[in-house]
């Protein structure tokens, strides 16, 4: 047995409905879909292996150990196994509870890890104002030339190794965030639907233009768009990283910001968020004050491409677009596996005049971004990124469409200047704009 035994009673894996664990009949159909199993060919690195470990813990045969903790964090949480699983195992729930148990038992504790978790989960991504303030500072750092100076001066060597390695790939923060680009309420001339728009956290700082484009295509399709101010993180970051209490707190905060009954849908454009946002009722199951609202919320949350196809969005008319451009589509894990949305983004892309869509080999394979996996497990993330870039380059496409900020950054970092990564909705918004010009 590993050394890190603990007597703390189980909080998450013990309370979990046993039938969720039992649902796995260990047939092995998940194995060929799992990036970590394919890498090591060791059963513990596979979905059924991880579930077997969770079950052993629930059965009292295994303690929550450091090894178990590390295994739960080696899992990407890409959910490819849920698509592969004929038995319908609810892996996301198992995975989130297992990580929460790991944190609850403190088996991975070390002061540095605790500091980073506190800074990110408890501070930055729990306090929208703070996040934006830090975003501003980061923007200043990047545009002022200070980042150049730090790199040149060697000051960077004072930072911890993993941070140092990440610095060059730090995403570029935008000058203006979503609230400055989108009014709290914007209405089209004829209102067919009323929707709320989620601006996210990373999306808000790094890709506020995608949020603006989302509002534009919604307006173009007769949707009145309500965008509550200062929304902050939806809590998916917390839920995926073992902090279910803080995730529930973020969910409540978000529920308070939207007047659900007046809205037909809540629109998200980030796959990782969407796949979490649709399950608030799980998170708030025991919260009498919020459970009902959470259930209604789950029904109303829609990914932008899912919503546009459902309302039969208007196809942009042909205009003089000049030369045709070739694009391919990378499926974000939490869109295709997490939400079962695969054809809709392609429909959006196919509707764009002058765009030729070429299919990407292994389009649903994870790119290695997986939330903050590329920070916590850079080696495995790097391998997946490399494989993704190789299949992207085979397509010869100059545009890579994808609908998740994590994938966006990971793939753009991998591709360098050889192609441009873009959200499908940005392309659609452009097409509408060109229509007006011509």
């Amino acid at each position: 047995m590993s050394e890190a035994k603990t007597l703390t009673p189980l909080k998450y894996l013990g309370d979990l409905d046993y039938s969720v664990v039992q649902q796995c009949m260990h047939c092995g159909m998940c194995l060929p879909s799992c990036p970590t199993y394919l890498e090591t060919k060791k059963e513990r690195n596979s979905p059924r292996g991880r579930i077997a470990l969770m079950r052993s813990i629930a059965d009292g045969e295994l303690k929550v150990t450091k090894e178990f903790g590390e295994e739960m964090y080696y899992c990407l949480g890409c959910l490819a196994c849920t698509t592969a699983c004929p038995a319908g195992v609810n892996y996301p729930e198992l995975f989130e509870n297992a990580r929460a148990e790991v944190e609850h038992q403190g088996v991975l504790f070390n002061p540095e890890r605790r500091f980073w978790r506190w800074l990110t989960l408890n501070q930055l991504f729990s306090k929208p104002r703070l996040l934006r303030a830090v975003g501003r500072l980061l923007w200043l750092y990047q545009v002022s030339g200070l980042s150049w100076l730090v790199r040149k001066s060697g000051l960077l060597w004072l930072a911890p190794k993993n941070l140092r390695e990440l610095e060059p790939s730090t995403p570029v923060v935008q000058r203006r965030f979503s609230d400055e680009l989108i009014e709290e309420s914007e209405a089209p001339s004829g209102i067919r639907y009323r929707v709320g728009l989620l601006t996210g956290c990373v999306q808000d700082l790094i890709f506020p233009d995608v949020n603006r484009a989302t509002a534009d295509v919604l307006l173009e399709n007769g949707c009145e768009v309500t965008t509550p101010r200062l929304q902050g993180c939806c809590g998916s970051l917390h839920a995926h990283n073992g902090d279910l209490d803080q995730a529930a707190e973020r969910a409540r905060a978000l529920l308070d910001r939207f007047d659900l009954s007046s809205l037909d849908a809540i629109i998200t454009n980030a796959a990782g968020c969407g796949s979490h946002l649709k399950h608030f009722s799980n998170l708030l199951r025991d919260d009498a004050a919020y459970a009902t609202k959470a259930a209604e919320w789950d029904q109303k949350v829609k990914d932008i491409s899912e919503w546009l196809v459902a309302i039969d969005f208007r196809k942009p008319s042909k205009s003089d677009t000049g030369e045709a451009v070739t694009a391919t589509y990378h499926e974000a894990c939490h869109l295709c596996h997490g939400q079962g949305i695969s054809s809709q983004p392609r429909e959006l892309l196919k509707s764009i005049p002058g765009l030729e869509l070429v299919e990407l080999e292994n389009a649903t394979d994870c790119c290695g971004s997986a939330g903050i996996y590329n920070i916590t497990q850079p080696e495995q993330a790097g391998k997946l990124q490399k494989a993704k870039v190789a299949s992207l380059q085979k397509t010869g496409a100059s545009l890579v469409a994808t609908a998740n900020p994590g994938c966006h950054l990971q793939i753009q970092n991998g591709l360098g200047d050889s192609a441009t990564v873009i959200h499908p909705v940005t392309l659609l918004a452009d097409a509408y704009r060109k229509e007006r010009k011509s």
Binding site: S2, S19, Q23, C27, G49, L53, T65, E67, P86, G88
Partner: protein, 471 residues
């Protein structure tokens, strides 16, 4: 017998010198996931797992185990359905998934030589560009290893026309219990030099030797195929249709059957447009030259209609046909949606007795108050009655035991076999004597004793020998 626990350090050290740290697992977090295969309600803790990369390493491991008197349980991807690769007390689990190289595809002789851990589907994928075909397609083909397929003589959806794994094995490299390496068979279409030793190892479930390489026959890839889906308002009408197709001497590639429950679960998962209202659905696939495929398809449709089929429809295109077959392969796992534990059987009867066994399974379900779904390779007379139950409910599990016993007795009475394609392993071991006369049962044991006198290879599987009783 000296078990691993008695001298663990020395043995582990010896294994480590053979495979190194990375391919030897001893921590509980590593071992727990090797305690089971795809069989329901069966597990046993593994003591150590080795994942060698060469035949030389395998031979060394077998020699070390032999010297220490420690049992060896061989496995591939662990998708077996009879508990055949479940660890035994104190034994070494020898997992061969790292030996996964396709060594040679020989288009002049229509053969392919693979290491034992090559994934079944990868073999057909490699054959495809050469216009060749490896037909055996067990439900788990996307992850099962060829070594596991050979050791269990796996079947699949195409058994009716193309046969089973055995029909494609031309040669095997085997590590014998002594640690010697033997090559059995050849690339020759005809070869009668001595006993057909390779055939002894096909379906031997890791009890006679360890298969390390497999030489397989490939066949020309069929030019065309046609897939039909016929739905019926009774299981009996569906079974009768299949029996009559065979009687009329039509041998299509696939004649698969799914009852209403199975259809519902598969459709819930795969969304391929299976009729979920009908009592039974038969998936028929004919392949070969265009004209033959047309003719066979029409004839089968006519027989289905004559037997009162509610509807007979054609797959829209090739992609749809593939989706239907792929969906069918998930039937077993998809049935797990209904109850916590899914117990799958694979009894097989002469095809003229299909109606009787299908009706009998239905009665057994009523008699023992159990939920049983049935699907299977009807064209082969191979039925998968699947009991949907809960292993934590002791009373219900007792009824499951009675139901299984009844089904096996009936199968034997009809001239059938208790296992058509999954093997005996642990799950069918208690029932095996019922099927055999004393002489044939003893013959198997004699073979085992002759080849593995110390009884160290996968002991306690298929049958117990007096000195290797393993619970």
């Amino acid at each position: 017998m000296a078990l691993l626990q008695s001298e663990p350090i020395a043995l582990i050290d010896q294994l480590k010198t053979v495979v190194g740290d990375g391919d030897l697992l001893t921590e509980p977090e590593d071992l727990i996931p090797y305690g089971f295969d795809g069989t329901a309600a069966m597990k046993h803790a593994a003591t150590c797992v080795v994942t060698p990369r060469t035949v030389k390493e395998v031979a060394s491991i077998v020699k070390i185990a032999g010297a220490a008197g420690v049992p060896v349980v061989t496995r591939g991807s662990g998708t077996g359905l009879s508990g055949g690769s479940i660890p035994v007390d104190g034994g070494i689990v020898l997992c061969l998934v790292n030996m996964d190289e396709i060594i040679e595809l020989d288009p002049a002789n229509l053969t392919i030589l693979c290491e034992t851990g090559v994934i079944t589907k990868a073999i057909d994928d490699a054959a495809h560009p050469h216009g060749l075909f490896y037909p055996p397609d067990p439900g788990s083909m996307k992850i099962s290893t060829i070594g596991g397929n050979v050791a269990n003589n796996s079947g699949g959806l195409r058994g009716l026309k193309y046969g089973v794994t055995r029909d494609y094995v031309m040669g095997l490299e085997v590590v014998l219990p002594s640690g010697e390496v033997a090559w059995l068979g050849s690339k020759c279409v005809k070869d009668v030099a001595g006993y057909s030793m390779k055939d002894l190892f096909v379906g031997s479930e890791g009890t006679l030797g360890i298969i390390t390489k497999v030489l397989l026959k490939l066949v020309p890839r069929p030019k065309a195929r046609r897939t039909l889906l016929a739905s019926f308002d009774s299981m009996e009408a569906a079974a009768r249709t299949v029996s009559q197709i065979i009687e009329k001497q039509i041998i299509p590639c696939t004649l698969e059957f799914l009852d209403r429950k199975t259809c519902g679960c598969v459709e819930d998962y795969a969304r391929v447009g299976l009729p979920t209202e009908a009592a039974a659905v038969v998936l028929m696939e004919s392949d070969g030259p265009e004209s033959v495929v047309e003719e066979e398809g029409d004839a089968m449709a006519a027989i289905a209609e004559a037997n009162g089929a509610i509807k007979v429809e054609k797959a829209k295109d090739d992609a749809h046909a593939t989706r239907l077959a792929t969906a069918r392969r998930t039937a077993f796992s998809a049935l797990a949606r209904i109850r916590p534990t899914t117990i799958l059987e694979d009894v097989t009867v002469p095809r003229s007795r299909l109606v009787e066994i299908v009706n009998f399974v239905e009665e057994v379900g009523k008699k023992h108050r159990l939920e049983i779904a049935t699907f299977g390779h009807f064209g082969d007379g191979n039925v998968h009655p699947t009991i949907l139950t809960d292993e934590t409910d002791k009373k219900e599990m007792e009824r499951v035991e009675h139901a299984l016993s009844d089904i096996f007795d009936k199968t034997i009475e009809l001239g059938g076999t208790i296992t058509g394609e999954h093997g005996v392993g642990l799950a069918k071991k208690p029932f095996l004597p019922r099927q055999f006369s004393e002489a044939s049962y003893q013959l198997m044991k004699q073979v085992k004793q002759a080849l593995d006198p110390a009884g160290l290879l996968n002991p306690g599987k298929i049958f117990d020998l007096p000195e290797t009783k393993v619970s």
